[in-house]
Protein backbone atom coordinates (compact mmCIF):
# COMPACT_ATOMS: atom_id res chain seq x y z
CA UNK A 1 0.00 0.00 0.00
CA UNK A 2 1.28 3.43 -0.85
CA UNK A 3 1.81 6.49 1.29
CA UNK A 4 -0.99 8.93 2.08
CA UNK A 5 0.44 11.22 -0.62
CA UNK A 6 -0.23 8.49 -3.16
CA UNK A 7 -3.77 8.00 -1.85
CA UNK A 8 -4.57 11.72 -2.09
CA UNK A 9 -3.00 11.87 -5.56
CA UNK A 10 -4.98 8.86 -6.73
CA UNK A 11 -8.22 10.39 -5.41
CA UNK A 12 -7.49 13.77 -7.04
CA UNK A 13 -8.51 12.47 -10.48
CA UNK A 14 -12.22 12.31 -11.43
CA UNK A 15 -11.75 9.31 -13.74
CA UNK A 16 -10.10 7.33 -10.98
CA UNK A 17 -12.91 8.26 -8.60
CA UNK A 18 -15.42 7.00 -11.16
CA UNK A 19 -13.48 3.71 -11.34
CA UNK A 20 -13.76 3.40 -7.55
CA UNK A 21 -17.49 4.16 -7.81
CA UNK A 22 -17.83 1.38 -10.42
CA UNK A 23 -16.15 -1.08 -8.06
CA UNK A 24 -18.30 0.16 -5.18
CA UNK A 25 -21.38 -0.67 -7.27
CA UNK A 26 -20.01 -4.04 -8.36
CA UNK A 27 -16.87 -5.39 -6.73
CA UNK A 28 -14.45 -7.92 -8.23
CA UNK A 29 -14.55 -6.81 -11.91
CA UNK A 30 -12.13 -7.71 -14.69
CA UNK A 31 -10.31 -5.12 -16.79
CA UNK A 32 -12.59 -5.92 -19.76
CA UNK A 33 -15.74 -5.42 -17.68
CA UNK A 34 -14.50 -2.06 -16.38
CA UNK A 35 -13.46 -1.01 -19.88
CA UNK A 36 -16.99 -1.77 -21.08
CA UNK A 37 -18.55 0.41 -18.40
CA UNK A 38 -16.40 3.51 -18.86
CA UNK A 39 -15.94 5.77 -21.91
CA UNK A 40 -12.23 5.07 -22.02
CA UNK A 41 -9.66 2.98 -23.88
CA UNK A 42 -8.33 -0.25 -22.40
CA UNK A 43 -4.95 1.41 -22.00
CA UNK A 44 -6.51 4.34 -20.13
CA UNK A 45 -8.33 2.04 -17.71
CA UNK A 46 -5.12 0.04 -17.15
CA UNK A 47 -3.12 3.18 -16.44
CA UNK A 48 -5.63 4.48 -13.89
CA UNK A 49 -6.02 1.07 -12.23
CA UNK A 50 -2.25 0.91 -11.78
CA UNK A 51 -2.25 4.26 -9.91
CA UNK A 52 -5.14 3.05 -7.73
CA UNK A 53 -3.35 -0.25 -7.03
CA UNK A 54 -0.13 1.52 -6.07
CA UNK A 55 -2.08 3.69 -3.64
CA UNK A 56 -3.68 0.55 -2.15
CA UNK A 57 -7.20 1.67 -3.13
CA UNK A 58 -7.63 -1.27 -5.48
CA UNK A 59 -6.48 -4.79 -4.73
CA UNK A 60 -6.49 -7.70 -7.19
CA UNK A 61 -7.04 -11.43 -7.01
CA UNK A 62 -6.36 -14.06 -9.65
CA UNK A 63 -9.33 -16.30 -10.29
CA UNK A 64 -8.33 -18.89 -12.91
CA UNK A 65 -7.34 -16.94 -16.01
CA UNK A 66 -9.03 -13.77 -14.79
CA UNK A 67 -7.67 -10.94 -12.69
CA UNK A 68 -10.38 -9.40 -10.54
CA UNK A 69 -10.22 -5.86 -9.16
CA UNK A 70 -11.62 -5.05 -5.71
CA UNK A 71 -12.17 -1.70 -4.04
CA UNK A 72 -10.08 -1.59 -0.86
CA UNK A 73 -11.71 1.07 1.34
CA UNK A 74 -9.12 0.78 4.13
CA UNK A 75 -6.81 3.67 3.03
CA UNK A 76 -9.83 5.99 2.91
CA UNK A 77 -10.67 4.90 6.46
CA UNK A 78 -7.08 5.65 7.52
CA UNK A 79 -7.38 9.16 6.05
CA UNK A 80 -10.68 9.54 7.87
CA UNK A 81 -9.17 8.44 11.20
CA UNK A 82 -6.12 10.63 10.70
CA UNK A 83 -7.83 13.78 9.38
CA UNK A 84 -11.61 13.85 9.27
CA UNK A 85 -12.46 12.52 12.71
CA UNK A 86 -9.92 14.72 14.43
CA UNK A 87 -11.11 17.97 12.93
CA UNK A 88 -14.60 17.46 11.71
CA UNK A 89 -16.41 14.24 12.60
CA UNK A 90 -18.96 15.63 15.08
CA UNK A 91 -19.69 18.51 12.67
CA UNK A 92 -19.44 16.47 9.49
CA UNK A 93 -22.13 14.07 10.71
CA UNK A 94 -24.50 16.98 11.35
CA UNK A 95 -23.68 18.67 8.06
CA UNK A 96 -24.25 15.47 6.06
CA UNK A 97 -27.71 15.19 7.61
CA UNK A 98 -28.43 18.85 6.85
CA UNK A 99 -27.31 18.40 3.25
CA UNK A 100 -29.54 15.35 2.91
CA UNK A 101 -32.55 17.19 4.35
CA UNK A 102 -32.03 20.19 2.08
CA UNK A 103 -31.61 18.00 -0.99
CA UNK A 104 -34.73 16.03 -0.16
CA UNK A 105 -36.70 19.25 0.39
CA UNK A 106 -35.47 20.72 -2.88
CA UNK A 107 -36.42 17.53 -4.67
CA UNK A 108 -39.91 17.66 -3.19
CA UNK A 109 -40.40 21.23 -4.43
CA UNK A 110 -39.39 20.22 -7.90
CA UNK A 111 -36.41 22.54 -8.13
Amino acid sequence: MGSMDEVFKALADPTRRSLLDELFEKDGQTLSALEGRLPMTRFGVMKHLKVLEEAGLVTTKRRGREKLHFLNPVPIRLIHDRWVSKYAEPWAAGLSELKKDIEEDSHGEGI
Partner: protein
Protein backbone atom coordinates in the same frame (compact mmCIF):
# COMPACT_ATOMS: atom_id res chain seq x y z
CA UNK B 1 -20.44 -11.66 -3.16
CA UNK B 2 -16.87 -11.08 -2.12
CA UNK B 3 -15.18 -8.15 -0.35
CA UNK B 4 -11.42 -7.71 0.08
CA UNK B 5 -9.70 -5.51 2.67
CA UNK B 6 -5.96 -4.96 2.73
CA UNK B 7 -3.71 -3.10 5.16
CA UNK B 8 0.02 -2.84 5.90
CA UNK B 9 0.99 -2.92 9.56
CA UNK B 10 4.49 -2.45 10.93
CA UNK B 11 4.71 -5.54 13.14
CA UNK B 12 5.72 -9.22 13.04
CA UNK B 13 3.41 -12.01 11.81
CA UNK B 14 3.48 -13.52 15.31
CA UNK B 15 2.32 -10.31 17.03
CA UNK B 16 -0.34 -9.78 14.38
CA UNK B 17 -1.62 -13.35 14.77
CA UNK B 18 -1.82 -12.84 18.53
CA UNK B 19 -3.73 -9.55 18.17
CA UNK B 20 -6.28 -11.31 15.93
CA UNK B 21 -6.77 -14.41 18.10
CA UNK B 22 -6.34 -13.05 21.65
CA UNK B 23 -9.65 -12.14 23.32
CA UNK B 24 -8.39 -9.15 25.33
CA UNK B 25 -6.48 -7.62 22.42
CA UNK B 26 -9.33 -8.17 19.99
CA UNK B 27 -11.73 -6.22 22.21
CA UNK B 28 -9.52 -3.15 21.89
CA UNK B 29 -10.12 -2.58 18.18
CA UNK B 30 -13.17 -4.69 17.28
CA UNK B 31 -16.06 -2.48 18.51
CA UNK B 32 -15.41 -3.92 21.98
CA UNK B 33 -16.13 -7.46 20.76
CA UNK B 34 -13.61 -10.13 21.74
CA UNK B 35 -13.13 -13.63 20.32
CA UNK B 36 -13.29 -16.78 22.36
CA UNK B 37 -12.00 -20.11 21.03
CA UNK B 38 -9.49 -22.84 21.93
CA UNK B 39 -8.13 -22.54 18.35
CA UNK B 40 -7.96 -26.34 17.91
CA UNK B 41 -8.53 -27.57 14.33
CA UNK B 42 -12.27 -27.80 13.69
CA UNK B 43 -13.10 -25.79 16.81
CA UNK B 44 -15.75 -23.11 17.01
CA UNK B 45 -15.42 -19.48 18.05
CA UNK B 46 -17.71 -16.86 19.45
CA UNK B 47 -17.56 -13.08 19.40
CA UNK B 48 -18.87 -11.75 22.70
CA UNK B 49 -19.36 -8.17 23.81
CA UNK B 50 -18.57 -8.25 27.55
CA UNK B 51 -20.45 -5.01 28.23
CA UNK B 52 -23.64 -6.04 26.47
CA UNK B 53 -23.20 -9.70 27.53
CA UNK B 54 -24.45 -11.04 24.19
CA UNK B 55 -22.95 -13.03 21.32
CA UNK B 56 -22.32 -10.78 18.34
CA UNK B 57 -21.16 -13.48 15.93
CA UNK B 58 -20.12 -17.12 15.82
CA UNK B 59 -18.62 -19.69 13.49
CA UNK B 60 -16.08 -22.45 12.97
CA UNK B 61 -12.33 -22.30 12.50
CA UNK B 62 -12.07 -23.98 9.10
CA UNK B 63 -8.28 -23.58 8.69
CA UNK B 64 -5.74 -22.57 11.33
CA UNK B 65 -2.16 -22.05 10.20
CA UNK B 66 -0.39 -19.65 12.61
CA UNK B 67 0.96 -17.07 11.92
CA UNK B 68 -0.09 -17.04 8.27
CA UNK B 69 -3.67 -18.03 7.59
CA UNK B 70 -6.97 -18.32 9.41
CA UNK B 71 -10.23 -19.26 7.68
CA UNK B 72 -13.48 -18.95 9.62
CA UNK B 73 -17.13 -19.36 8.87
CA UNK B 74 -19.08 -16.31 10.05
CA UNK B 75 -22.64 -15.90 11.22
CA UNK B 76 -23.70 -12.43 12.38
CA UNK B 77 -26.08 -12.45 15.36
CA UNK B 78 -26.55 -8.80 16.31
CA UNK B 79 -30.00 -8.34 14.71
CA UNK B 80 -32.73 -10.36 13.02
CA UNK B 81 -31.83 -8.75 9.67
CA UNK B 82 -28.18 -9.83 9.80
CA UNK B 83 -29.10 -13.27 11.20
CA UNK B 84 -31.22 -13.86 8.10
CA UNK B 85 -28.09 -13.44 5.93
CA UNK B 86 -26.89 -16.87 7.12
CA UNK B 87 -23.30 -18.13 6.97
CA UNK B 88 -20.44 -16.40 5.13
CA UNK B 89 -16.66 -16.89 5.27
CA UNK B 90 -13.77 -14.74 6.52
CA UNK B 91 -10.15 -15.46 5.53
CA UNK B 92 -7.25 -13.71 7.29
CA UNK B 93 -3.92 -13.86 5.44
CA UNK B 94 -0.67 -12.49 6.85
CA UNK B 95 2.32 -11.95 4.58
CA UNK B 96 5.61 -10.39 5.78
CA UNK B 97 6.79 -7.50 3.57
CA UNK B 98 10.10 -5.98 4.72
CA UNK B 99 9.65 -4.97 8.35
CA UNK B 100 5.85 -4.91 7.98
CA UNK B 101 3.04 -7.34 7.30
CA UNK B 102 0.39 -7.20 4.64
CA UNK B 103 -2.89 -8.32 6.19
CA UNK B 104 -5.64 -9.28 3.76
CA UNK B 105 -9.13 -9.98 5.06
CA UNK B 106 -11.38 -11.57 2.44
CA UNK B 107 -15.05 -11.74 3.36
CA UNK B 108 -16.76 -13.97 0.80
CA UNK B 109 -19.65 -16.37 0.34
CA UNK B 110 -21.86 -13.36 1.12
CA UNK B 111 -25.31 -13.25 -0.50
CA UNK B 112 -25.61 -11.01 -3.56
CA UNK B 113 -26.54 -7.59 -2.24
CA UNK B 114 -25.78 -8.69 1.34
CA UNK B 115 -26.55 -6.30 4.20
CA UNK B 116 -23.52 -3.96 4.35
CA UNK B 117 -23.50 -4.22 8.16
CA UNK B 118 -21.90 -7.65 7.69
CA UNK B 119 -18.72 -6.33 6.05
CA UNK B 120 -18.93 -2.54 6.49
CA UNK B 121 -17.04 -2.54 9.79
CA UNK B 122 -13.79 -4.05 8.46
CA UNK B 123 -12.02 -0.79 7.51
CA UNK B 124 -12.56 0.63 10.99
CA UNK B 125 -11.51 -2.63 12.66
CA UNK B 126 -8.32 -2.87 10.59
CA UNK B 127 -7.51 0.81 11.17
CA UNK B 128 -7.84 0.24 14.93
CA UNK B 129 -5.70 -2.93 14.74
CA UNK B 130 -2.96 -0.96 12.95
CA UNK B 131 -3.05 1.80 15.57
CA UNK B 132 -2.92 -0.74 18.42
CA UNK B 133 0.07 -2.65 17.03
CA UNK B 134 2.05 0.36 15.86
CA UNK B 135 1.46 2.68 18.84
CA UNK B 136 0.09 0.45 21.61
CA UNK B 137 -2.79 2.89 21.87
CA UNK B 138 -6.49 2.62 21.15
CA UNK B 139 -7.98 4.41 18.21
CA UNK B 140 -10.20 6.95 19.93
CA UNK B 141 -12.13 8.51 17.08
CA UNK B 142 -15.82 8.92 17.94
CA UNK B 143 -16.81 6.26 15.40
CA UNK B 144 -14.47 3.62 16.74
CA UNK B 145 -15.69 4.12 20.31
CA UNK B 146 -19.35 3.85 19.37
CA UNK B 147 -19.80 0.30 20.64
CA UNK B 148 -16.87 -0.01 23.04
CA UNK B 149 -17.05 0.11 26.83
CA UNK B 150 -15.96 3.75 26.80
CA UNK B 151 -18.54 4.62 24.17
CA UNK B 152 -21.43 2.96 25.99
CA UNK B 153 -20.75 4.39 29.43
Amino acid sequence: MEKVFEIYIKTTPERLWEAITDNAQRQKYNFGVGVSSDWAPGSGYEGVHPGAGISICEGENLEIDPPRRLVQSFTALWSDQVKSEGVSRVTWEIEPVGSSCRLTVTHDQLNEGANSELYGGWPMILSGLKTLLETGELLDTPGSLRYSEEGIS
